[in-house]
Amino acid sequence: MALFKRELSPARIVKKSREDRFAAREIIDGVFTDFIELHGDRLSGDDNSIIGGIARLNGQPVTVIVIDRGTDIQDKISKRNGSPEPYGYRKAQRLMAQANKFNRPIITFINTPGAFPGKTAEAQGQGEAIAQSILKSMKLTVPMIAIIYGEAGSGGALALATSDQVWMFQNATYSILSPEGFASILWKDSKRADEAADVMGLTPKDLMEKQIIEYIIPEGRNHPRVFNLIRKRLDDEITSLQTLAPNELLAKRRARFRAF
């Protein structure tokens, strides 16, 4: 791709996608203004690995939902390196329903190895939480754009990516599971992860070809520049999505996934 200076191997992109190049709070502050965080799912708790709230995008109120992997070790442990609990997904569902009521576009930022595979997560219905996030997204009549800024693993990522458009950072990945898991399941050898990355088609370029995503966000060391680009493009795309009638928007979103 001429867009980027030099093309990295899939295995190299997998490594980069896990390097915390961009922090959740940094993205929120960089792209939006007036952010107010809203907590809790009103059922069982508040998952700090999903930050949610209301902000302004070029003046327009929007709902922002961001998976946070944490910054230092303690923070990462408490956020399970960005693996949400069921009550995280249920918080997201609550905020999405709220956005729908007030006709606010929804923008999600995704960076997760997957939904947390824990004992209480399972007991509290991790599968049901993801299933309902997907189903509810298929009924919302406000524009939804999902941006993958690091790793996007499996159903835990899809739960926040059933949108009108999905974008990816240049060094992000989106896959059915981690290359390690893939190699371990198919070849019974998790050490062949690099090889798995090659055949999985998890890079932005591969996914763009398969029309899984609509846009690749070029990265750079100059983060404000990246954020300005995102803000500008979000504004353009949301404005254009807002010209559609609610039923048209919904039909288009469903058709987007019907094509797979």
Binding site: A115, F116, P117, G118, K119, A121, E122, A123, Q124, G125, Q126, G127, E128, I130, A131, Q132, I134, L135, M138, K139, S154, G155, L158, A159, T162, Y174, S175, I176, L177, F182, I185, L186, V199, M200, G201, L202, L207, K210, I212, R253, R254, F257, R258, F260
Partner: protein
Amino acid sequence: MNIFDQHKHQTAKIKRQDNVNERIPDGLFLACPYCGAQMYNKQLGRYRVCSKCGYGFRLQARERVTLFTDTFTEMDADIVQTNPDFPGYADKLSRAQEQTDLGESVLTGEAVIKGQKVALGVMDPYFMMASLGSKTGEKITRLFEYATENQLPVVLFTASGGARMQEGINSLMQMAKISAAVAQHQEAGLLYLVVLTDPTTGGVTASFAMQGDVTLAEPHALVGFAGARVIESTIHEKLPKDFQRAETLLKNGFVDKIVPRETLADTIGQLVALHQSTEV
């Protein structure tokens, strides 16, 4: 001649059971994968249920249709994966097709269950562990679309080891594709009845298996999102025996009712009848 026929029949059974690692000393005896009780093959009866604990042995989709429907007309039998380009995938696929007499891991059609007309889907754990391939997703999506068009309830027997790894991201997209069709069916005010069977896991649990209006389960069916080994290695502790079994899900509020196979058709018929619009 008769003797040979019988022998052939039992060999086929042994082969099938081997595939799910069920311990079988020979064709006559087998062990319940749930409680371990040894029993005669014939003791399982036509519903293939453990006489001791009530666990329902895994069934092929076509066996299920025979057991639970009055009539069944298959649809979309011609939908098969025509481009299995991952190494080794084509072989696995054709072996599964041969073994199950199915084109994909789900059998769909229009059925009558205890006098009630329904759109029926049955996932087959003997077809690549009912993994969610793009054609599996296509058949289930079409089933919901057909039901919406024809104002029919959907009854779906779920089973799955999860995503179809060989199809990568396209497998993941099926979760969203089917969910969109479920949403449309829901908006038409139609009933979606899920029957969780052993095993229902991964991406299927994280999508259409957990989107029903009413969710039934077979006794002791394994139902979960993450695999037990993955959970154990994440939290470094051993999980209790019934951690992801239907009875635990019932207790935790994710299943409406556990129904033994013997009364399953009656329960489905009754639930569908209760959702018929009454004439004014």
